[in-house]
Point group: C2
Chain length 242, copies 2
Amino acid sequence: MARNYIVSTAESKCATCSLREICLPVGLDKDETELLGDLINHKYRIRRGEHLFHTGLAFKSLYAVRNGFFKSCVLDSDGRQQVTGFYMTGELLGLDAISSEKHTCDTVALEDSEVCEVPFIKLEEISRRIPLLMHHFHKIMSREIVQDHTIMMLMGGRKAEERLAAFLLNLSERFAKRGYSSTNFILRMTREEIGSYLGLKLETVSRSLSRLQEEGIITINNKNVRLNDIYRLSHKISGYSD
Amino acid sequence: MARNYIVSTAESKCATCSLREICLPVGLDKDETELLGDLINHKYRIRRGEHLFHTGLAFKSLYAVRNGFFKSCVLDSDGRQQVTGFYMTGELLGLDAISSEKHTCDTVALEDSEVCEVPFIKLEEISRRIPLLMHHFHKIMSREIVQDHTIMMLMGGRKAEERLAAFLLNLSERFAKRGYSSTNFILRMTREEIGSYLGLKLETVSRSLSRLQEEGIITINNKNVRLNDIYRLSHKISGYSD
DNA sequence: CGCTATTTTGACCCAAATCAACTTACGTGG
DNA sequence: CCACGTAAGTTGATTTGGGTCAAAATAGCG
């Protein structure tokens, strides 16, 4: 929040946004979308490496990713950093802050990005008038919970290679939903950040990716990934050894 | 849901419930609490070991724990079970199901328990008329997200003994908030369930608890725990070795 | 173009998993 | 109420996946 400058104040209406089918306005009619758009008075441009918000900051707003890519991470008491999520276009940042009215994680852009600020009090207000919006918002929060459970499952019982497989497939699906290639994409985050998210060390991430490549399942060249065999990749997760 | 019988249909008003300060009605006035209470037309008694709901079941309602203790767990593709949460008095079950309109986990009573059924559509309806209820509901969902992040952090970077310490302290706080002893309580779940939740095997849980006992930090006798030295227990987590 | 951050790969080590044996608690039915 | 059978917990021995340490290769930035 601190050092990000405003891109535009008005004229950034949801009604004309290409994301209205995957972002907050899902399912809303023209008037409702208009109403929602009126909330969004600020958009911010966050450059790669910059913070959108820091842990401890008073919670006022959620942020919808307009484009770009973010990570959220918590710092624990002895300074170690753990990534709690990656967020792409159309996803909502800051949901964890509602409960305590303070942000509980640092959120950082992994590429040059833009977000729409959604003042939370106002969002709640208009939710009262737009039941569908309220409902969709609840679904979004619920989806975050489900996503976290998925990660908990990975960390609980899966081997490194299986975690990576699940991670790549998850990214793949999310890219697909946004109209990007599901088999060919760029990893915006470092090996260390992937590892932190999955409960692994960066060396293990690197080795596991190399192994998947040796098996011909993926092709990886630094940040560029190609999923060559989604079927075998999924089977990695299901525990079938072949 | 299947085999639980109804305890009462009316007359189970939030207004007279001893949990109204930790459950959904937090902060509501008399009339609002009355309105909320009108939603709760069914309470169920779930006996130890019985399911409240199964994965895949169509989502209709949330359930507030009136008394007792529950676990939720997801089954992964090859049949392994992973505990995603433990729930006690006043907490809400089923939040993960909102997003897909199907329950994504099995929820099982770990002791004889009672729940209040909260029809979700109706909850959303009256939320429109009771902004504070809506807001509080959002806080509850957000709290679940934060709790999951905490577990992710434990699984990501912590050693077995540290995870156990954090787990015990978390239970301790939650018991305290409900007016029970924060230093002396019964573990409703098995070592295996604790392990599953924390990403450890049951033997490791057992060994870690034994070690904490040897150090004099806790006293543990089967399911009975006493926290003898909360200070040292917290320091386990912070990474200070002494 | 040079400097730094990131990634890869290798060698070695350790915490927790696994395998196993035994003990203790608990619920059930006689 | 007790005895039995099963489930849960403890503890030991051994194995191993991933962590740690180290060094070299590569990419990306200013």
